[in-house]
Amino acid sequence: MISVRGISKRFGSHQALDGVELEVPEGTVQGLLGPNGAGKTTTVRVLTTLLQPDSGDAFVAGRSVTDEGHEVRQRLGVSGQYAAVDEKLTGFENLTMVGELYGMRRRDAKARARELLRDFRLDDVPDDKRAGAYSGGMRRRLDLAGAIVARPPVVILDEPTTGLDPRGRRDTWDAIESLASGGTTVLLTTQYLEEADQLADSIAVIDGGRIIAEGTAGELKTRTGGARVDVVLTPGSDVALAVDAVRRAGHDATVDVRSGRLTVGAGGGSRDLVDIVGALHAVGIDATEAALRQPTLDEVFLQLTGATAEADATDASGDDATGASGPSGADASGRTRPEAVGGPLGPAPVAAAGPVEVER
């Protein structure tokens, strides 16, 4: 339903898109996941005919975005990163206007607007309340409703929950889920991995203007080395010693200095868990917690985009080249890593301890 074929776009010296390829089958939800500056919004702008690619083409419902812009726009609903609703109009007026601009008759547009306000639970506000007085979540729902006024077969949502509070995000998720269950093909960009995991049938990871990985959430997790073991050391433990012990047992460890928590790659599952706890025990370090778990999408994401490479210059197995070349790596780590709180003290003790990954 959406077919992106090798689109490239350069802004001055910045290669925003570098041959993006993507296929979205009819009736599925495709997540496009990437840090700020990865090329998500540029991809969306090409697909919505707002921007001409330098090369390549994309097809929405069989129509070319470069040659058949008007036809594409007729088959497409768009909801932007910044909810583009008219603040001076009421929700009803906003939706009626969009309906009319899709070519609906005024009476039909009004009926459709009423229906959507009900569906998106926007009908319990006073009739004369302007969109400018809506909460962030309501505004986003209104924008989303605007995207489907004309019941388009394809809907593109650019970071639909960025900047929303948890409640607003959950409401928006519900709205997207009900949209998808109605058979609409959805392309959704996000920098929240949880969101892609929750909503998307398939996830494409974009970084530096290229699709660097694709698959279901489960596939992406398996691809990046399987399970992890989290170990929380007893307070006052020698972190460097612990890392060294785990490494000698043959496991890569990441340490969050602030919480004293070790995250260890454990492709061998429970066997590795026993192994790791044993190695720590052997050097006299006790854990207050030790648990085997699947990697989070954050870890998958960071591994794929190489964002950790900036901090693990000493990690023999690290792929420094990829990490350093990712223009947005630092941005991504700041935005998406829940543990990214360390600060300048982070790397020092660990660097002394030898080759480990450090989460700053």
Partner: protein, 265 residues
């Protein structure tokens, strides 16, 4: 996109714009206060040096031309604001006419201009200005004023779509107004200006509109004023109309071209 489609979309956008203007009447303060201030300053501060009551008869045509020129900055600011808030992107992603967005703006801004015209005329009546012609002339003059307002609005639209931010649109949209309005016959006779400026003023569309409006309302210049000579002065209504058509013919296509080429990152 058919002509009917363009007009339809233009009407939808115009309706939306007018709702917006109605709900933020504060934005109209400039449109109302500015002509009042100009009428009062020129009508009282300078009038006595320039011919007293007779100058006040002469003045109103000039203020109308100047006010409608200044009002083009409303178009520039409103449109730049829609660009900045992402609303234009929303429109551009809809299967609607691209001319429609701008046409809706320039059409709805006629409303603002109409208010300004009424304010200037009311101020004029207060300071002793009078209409000294027949109904047909008055109606023709009203038509010319609206046409001119519509034309300058397209200049404002072009400025907004070139500037792309409210701040730049605001300053660019104001900057050109002063030379254009003051190197003209709006406030004094064009033939009272020095050397080359006189030629500029004689052919300046602002002069043509001001002169045509004075002719239409039957207002005479003060006896001390040099009477403007030449083809534009003798055929003010025709020349003013041609100017309006010319402005639209130039600025509508380039504004639409700018609209098409917008690719904010």
């Amino acid at each position: 996109m058919s002509v009917a489609g363009v007009l339809r979309d233009g009407r939808v956008i115009a309706r939306r714009n007018m709702l917006g203007v109605r709900r933020t009447p504060g934005a109209l303060v400039t449109g109302v206060a500015q002509p009042i201030i100009f009428v009062m300053i020129l009508g009282f501060v300078f009038a006595d040096a320039l011919g007293g009551d007779n100058y006040r008869q002469f003045l109103i045509g000039g203020i109308l031309a100047q006010t409608l020129t200044f009002n083009s900055s409303f178009t520039a600011v409103y449109l730049a604001k829609d660009l900045q808030t992402g609303l234009i992107d929303r429109f551009r992603a809809l299967p609607m006419s691209r001319v429609g967005v701008i046409l809706g703006r320039t059409t709805s801004d006629l409303m603002t201009n109409l208010i300004s015209i009424v304010v200037v005329i009311a101020c004029g009546l207060v300071i002793g200005w009078r209409v000294e012609s027949d109904l047909v002339s008055v109606l023709l003059t009203g038509g010319l004023l609206l046409l001119y307002a519509f034309a300058t609005s397209w200049i404002g639209a072009f400025i907004a779509l070139t500037a792309r931010s409210v701040e730049v649109a605001q300053s660019l949209g104001l900057l050109w107004l002063f030379p254009v309005c003051f190197i003209s016959g709006a406030f004094v006779s064009a033939d009272m200006l020095p050397g080359p400026l006189r030629v500029v003023a004689e052919w300046n569309p602002v002069t043509a509109v001001a002169t045509a409006v004075r002719d239409g309302f039957g207002n005479q210049p003060p006896a001390s004023f040099e009477v403007a000579q030449g083809w534009p002065a003798d055929n003010a209504l025709l020349y003013a109309t041609l100017c309006c058509v010319g402005i639209i013919a130039i600025f509508a296509p380039i504004a639409v071209a700018q609209y098409r080429s917008i690719s904010k990152r």
